[in-house]
Structures are given as structure tokens and as C-alpha cells.
Symmetry: C2
Subunit: 132 residues, 2 copies
């Protein structure tokens, strides 16, 4: 898979997430992956994505900067969304918040094998309420 | 500048930082850049790097994952270092800590024009002492 194909695959993966078609993640994510160096199954990954949407019903993955080389995708994602449950331990206020995520993916055979993500927790904390 | 040259330039930039040759940053950083969307001058950028080394004398930039495409460099940096002053608001303990930074650079004419960085603040917080 060349870089143009990998970029197209990654963009399609984000559309699957944005459309809540979590069953289709089979085509984009290996059975067993590592997420921030922790091994998890794709089933758990699917549950985590579904749980995120319960917490943030209007969650949408927007590409800020996308960098693709070899089997690697690096993306600065941008979120403008409205949590309705506690998110990262902070309580919702009803307000829409915005924050970045910087994530590195390693693909293998066109599917995600490894994810390493950092999210702007300080930005989230400053826009939500402190834990009760 | 092709991707191999950009990668070589970026690696040379990290060596300049690791060798504390901050005067040479002129060759790698534009006069005026944005850092996490804030405009700063190269002089300020150089002072910030020098201040970091005052806080963390053994600071060393290690490449974890490097992704280069077009004018963009994305890097997962890995640090194992020993703060001797307050770092991100947390007090040093004398212990060596480790943490990641996920950073996206935009180059223009072979020099850095924009930096967007997220650092694993939770990892840093868990390894240093709470603010006094």
C-alpha cells in the first residue's frame, strides 16, 4: 500500500468513526493492537469508541495536519464537541469545548497495529468543570 | 527540499539542541514562528530552549517515531531526564523521569515556521512532586 492509499484508508477510517459504523472497524484495525503501549483487542477498541460517543454524542474527528510516510500516519486531530458525561475526569458544563489530539499510528497490511496518542488534557480541563 | 533532505535537516536540528549549540538555531528556525499558535521570535525560542536546559540539565531529544511528508515533520520524541527545578509546575524529586512529546512542525524553505506540540503532562505529573 503506497502513501496515497494509506492516506485514503486513514481518511475512510475517520469517516467510519464519524458515522458510528463501529462494526466496520474490522477492516481498519487488527484483532490485537497496542494503544499507548497497552495491548487491547479490537473488540475493546470498538467498545471504547462507542463509550466515547456516549460521553460526547457530537464527537467528530477533524483532520488538522496529516503526515503519512511508509506504514506511519501522524495526525493532529481537532475536536469541537459537547461532553454530556464526565470526560477525562472533568464534569460537563453544557458548553462546547475544543482541543487537539496528536496521534501516531503504525499500520500493517493496511490496518492499524499500534496507536500512540496524546490529548491536550490541559485544554480540556480549562474548559470543563473540576471533578465533584 | 525533498523528504530525505528534510529528515536530515530535522535530525541535525535535534543534534543542535542536544549539543546546546543554540546560536546555530538560526539555520533551522525562521526569525518569526508560531508555537502552539502563539507568535514568537527565534530569539525567544532560543531563550526558551536555554531555560529548559537550566531546568533539566541532562535534557536529550530522542526520536521515537519520525514521519516526514512534504513540508511537514511529525515526531514522537522520548525523554529520560532529571529536572532540577520546577518543570510544568511540578517540583523535582531528584529522580529521573520519562515522558513523550508529540510534535508537528511545518517547514518553509528548510527552516521551521510552525510548531504544534503536546507533551504527556500526566506522565510528568505522576513522576514529580505536587506543587508546594
Amino acid at each position: 500500500m503506497d502513501e496515497a492509499d494509506l492516506e485514503a484508508t486513514y481518511r475512510a477510517y475517520l469517516e467510519v468513526l464519524n458515522d458510528r459504523r463501529f462494526d466496520e472497524l474490522t477492516a481498519y484495525v487488527h484483532d490485537d493492537i497496542t494503544y499507548n503501549d497497552e495491548p487491547i483487542t479490537r473488540s475493546q477498541y470498538q467498545r471504547n469508541r462507542a463509550d466515547e460517543v456516549d460521553t460526547i454524542p457530537d464527537l467528530a474527528f477533524q483532520i488538522g495536519t496529516l503526515v503519512v510516510q511508509g506504514n506511519h500516519v501522524a495526525c493532529r486531530l481537532w475536536f469541537e464537541c459537547t461532553p454530556v458525561r464526565a470526560f477525562l475526569g472533568f464534569e460537563p458544563t453544557g458548553a462546547t469545548i475544543s482541543f487537539a489530539e496528536h496521534v501516531f499510528y503504525e499500520f500493517d497490511g493496511g490496518r492499524i497495529k499500534q496507536v500512540r496518542s496524546l490529548l491536550d488534557r490541559a485544554a480540556v480541563a480549562s474548559q470543563l468543570a473540576q471533578p465533584r
